[in-house]
Chain length 387, copies 2
């Protein structure tokens, strides 16, 4: 991508509306813009990061054996009455009537949809266990939406639901999901911790939260260690299947309610938590796996033909590692400030002095390390640093 074309309206000033670093920095880096309280636009950089988080989650869920589906946001009231949640969910549930005065809610979670779906699709223990997941927009009318996309009213979630003939089968899949979550957060390069948790409105018997560790985290996990909840896994048992009469036939041809688990990851929340774990005074420090671009190519003087030519060559040669070419006609200081704010892991700086000696400068965002390399070796070095 060429920086001159990228819609990334960076801000020099601290936005007054934001309290936590991730919210401030996502606004300042031109990643998000507010539409209403707790409701945000994702601009190109924001969308790129969220897509990368979603793609890692998707790949690891598929690797775990889960199948991807897509369920609607609009959920009929009748299903929520079956599960007894229409009455108890309260004001956090967005409720809406259609043109025929039929009532729906905007799904904050999908147990009421997936339970009858699986009950209809699966009759026999032979088809079990099965785990389905989706990556989809959720709605929750938070009383105090805040922290940008960390606690929004409309947000992207991965939610998964598993169906089992026995508790033993549920335990096995729960463990599989636990391990899958570890792979997901490991791949994103995040430090995290799983802790026992309160199942809350989702219900069920046992649950654990995955917390990304950050000094700015909203919860104190143990003395001095704070975290941000990014995932939550639940052993639901038969809470939904009994109420919704979702059954299968067991080995003895007897009707049994499905034993269920459910497993969530906040996609936008994970991206925001990655910032809370990785930032400094200059801006965001993305883990390589979810950075919007992996390397920025910055010619010091945008009027120097030799610098531009080399920048274009490196840009063409580095296409495989998602380069950002800063082709803007601006002072180099301002260009580098933007690139650091956005948090690109590597910069290749093409300046007159280095060029005279046949070198370019590679600067590592996270460590501040500066490496001078011969032009011919720049590509190899970048690829090596990104490994």
């Amino acid at each position: 991508m060429r920086m001159s074309r990228l819609v990334a309206p960076t801000l020099r000033e601290e936005p007054a509306e934001a309290e936590v670093p991730s919210h401030k920095l996502m606004l300042r880096a031109g990643m998000i813009r507010k539409v209403a309280a707790g409701i945000y636009n994702l601009l190109p950089l924001g969308h790129l990061v969220i897509s990368k988080v979603a793609q890692i989650v998707r790949e690891e869920m598929v690797r775990s054996g889960a199948q991807e589906v897509f369920m609607p946001a609009l959920q009929p009231k009748e299903l929520w009455e079956e599960s007894d949640r229409w009455g108890v969910y309260g004001k956090e549930l967005f409720r809406i009537k259609d043109r025929h005065d039929r009532e729906f809610c905007l799904g904050p979670t999908h147990e009421e949809i997936i339970t009858p779906l699986v009950s209809d699709a699966i009759n026999s223990y032979k088809q079990l266990p099965v785990t389905l997941f989706q990556i989809q927009t959720k709605f929750r009318d938070e009383i105090r939406p805040r922290f940008g996309i960390m606690r929004g009213r409309e947000f992207m979630m991965k939610d998964a639901y598993s169906f089992h003939p026995s508790n033993k089968s549920l335990d096995k899949e729960y463990k599989n999901m636990f391990e899958t979550y570890c792979r997901i957060f490991d791949r994103m390069g995040l430090k995290y911790k799983a802790i026992k948790a309160d199942p809350g409105a989702i219900g069920g018997g046992f649950s654990e939260e995955f917390m990304v560790l950050a000094d700015t985290g909203e919860e104190e996990l143990s003395p001095g260690v704070r975290g941000i909840e990014v995932g939550h896994i639940f052993k639901l048992g038969t809470k939904y299947s009994e109420k919704m009469k979702a059954t299968f036939l067991d080995e003895k041809n007897q009707e049994k309610p499905f034993i269920m688990g459910c497993y969530g990851i906040g996609i936008g929340r994970t991206a925001a938590a990655a910032i809370e774990q990785g930032f400094d005074k200059d801006g965001i420090v993305w883990p390589i796996a979810i950075a919007p671009y992996k390397v920025a190519i910055v010619p010091v003087n945008s009027l120097e033909k030799e610098q531009i030519k080399l920048a274009e060559e490196l840009y063409a040669g580095l296409q495989a590692v998602e380069p950002l070419l800063d082709d803007r006609d601006m002072r180099v200081g301002a260009k580098l400030k933007d690139i650091d704010l956005i948090g690109i892991p590597l910069k290749i700086i093409i300046g007159p002095r280095g060029l005279k000696e046949g070198n370019v400068e590679i600067k590592v965002r996270a460590s501040g390390e500066v490496i001078m390399v011969p032009i011919a070796e720049a590509k190899k070095k970048v690829e090596e640093l990104l490994k």
Copy 2:
């Protein structure tokens, strides 16, 4: 994927609720299930096809120079009042109040969101033109939702919006989008036609529709030729930018309203239209590019170890071309019926007679052609047929 694990509840019977072939076949192939009128679950096969359509659209939009964003479904009433559409849009607009009694709609389209977003992000003609797109869920409270995901109340759209300093610049991007749409539908292997159209509620000066040709199409394009609208491109002009006071500074430092275009593709609708264009008495005949799986491997007898062993070997060897292994313990006739119903482009049938001679049978879904090939050449032949 192993067919024994896949959640694809195929139906032998014609579903009573469905009128058109795509709706019937998506239900029968276990791709979709109804939640409420015009509101559907996408099961794994349905999700796979929709994802492939979306991915082709995404790749070609990015190739065209557009940048991907993601905007919210919940849109504040105030913005729709600015554009004068809150009053005129009528009952098709889903309207909702939050816990503080603030009014929102569920976006059927995003002009009211993107116009202030771009106005905030872009100040100068130097940053123009720019085209932003998203692939996102839309809502429209249709008076008569029907034909499954073809005319739903909640559906996936690609919507794009372009911003220009001049009509000449808009004309150029409009042409670019026209060509991008041709590449998109060409890649999907669809026969289509672009025709002049009525801009309707979106407004603006000039628009064209992309119609997938099908005997079952809802519109008569010219004598005897019927089509299904899958895309619509508009020259909006300044309709939204003037009302919403969205301006930039031109070369003479004068404030001018953005000149806009907008460009939609119905993602689910395109998948359904592909079925209307490709089906026979046995089921769906997918174009290769959007088939959920490209080749099915079917051992005739699921108890014959030699057949199973070969099926597993072929399955492992063909991973790159998205194979479906029919490992179910069922009569071969029933297995083949399901595979044909789902519309997999190629089948490798492993039977006792062929095996004795060292051959397998490759059957082409679209043409019915049967090709006997030596086992060692099966992989190469499949790859060749899928090109």
